[in-house]
Symmetry: C2
Subunit: 166 residues, 2 copies
Amino acid sequence: MADSSSGGENLLFLTDEQLRKGIEAMFFAYRGFTADPDRILAQHDYGRAHHRALHFINRSQGTTVSNLLSVLGVTKQSLNRVLRTLIADGLVEARVGRRDRRERHLYLTEAGRTLEAELSEAQRARMRAAYRAAGPQAVAGFRQVLEAMMEEDMRRHYLALKETRR
Amino acid sequence: MADSSSGGENLLFLTDEQLRKGIEAMFFAYRGFTADPDRILAQHDYGRAHHRALHFINRSQGTTVSNLLSVLGVTKQSLNRVLRTLIADGLVEARVGRRDRRERHLYLTEAGRTLEAELSEAQRARMRAAYRAAGPQAVAGFRQVLEAMMEEDMRRHYLALKETRR
DNA sequence: CTTGGAAAGTCAACAACACTGACGTAAAAG
DNA sequence: CTTTTACGTCAGTGTTGTTGACTTTCCAAG
């Protein structure tokens, strides 16, 4: 195991008390995490599902519907409802695949990029503030714990997403 | 500011790229965070809202409805629907306040404690595994970042919760 | 003692977002 | 040519959240 800790045999952080506090921290923090985008989305008559779609389409321009499906972990019916409105509103474009014409490759339009940027900036602002307040070491730990908390499938998607050229 | 970092002026962790990865980590991790309790809840025909109610009633036995309301951040109508089923199913007991008889003080029954323990243990198991994998330093950072990410009101609730005698 | 207002609860209607199941179409794969 | 894959859609359902309106209870201040 990763026994490279500092203090050595200090396992106080594994107390049920400590674990419960971690659980509560996740709960309260997640509310903050979604609060700012939620406010913007409400103005545009969209919901969190739209935000998630915009985010991941932006992150993986040209991704297929089925890939997006497995990243988001929802059914195609659920995703389709959201995707349909985004396409109808001209925020997302679905291009028929060239090699495989069954596939739809998803792209953000100019308007889509604008809204995505607005949502992302709001969310990043809070994240930035939290990161700045906590410092680089804390951020590294934050990411380590979150990564270890993911289900296997999701971790694969997460790691795949990391491979963006800096 | 907390300038007690190691490297000094290393601000690479505030890159938009890094921030986006943090956002994605939160998204994927939160799914893992809720996955295990969700499976148990489905068997009992309950949802996440029931879990949250059980958790916070357990944490603050004797809390009032209005306090629970502001901790959970939902409307009383929404909470009431959940609370009604929990009371009807004999998992929660609502006692009329002695000093103020308008208030209802909420307690878990034996059955309530049993289910809460089952849900909590499942969630703690994952948290424990993540903590163990990441180590004490990472856990400290994790908590710092999450705390900084909360909205003010929620942070107050969170900190109030922390004051449990160890 | 009356009254104002807070606390709690209820009813009704609605919306977002998830699910299952079934079906259809187009196109790639065999 | 048949099967499988990718996508879309229709219909129905459930959980969880919301507003708005209304009642009951009851503490506390005038």
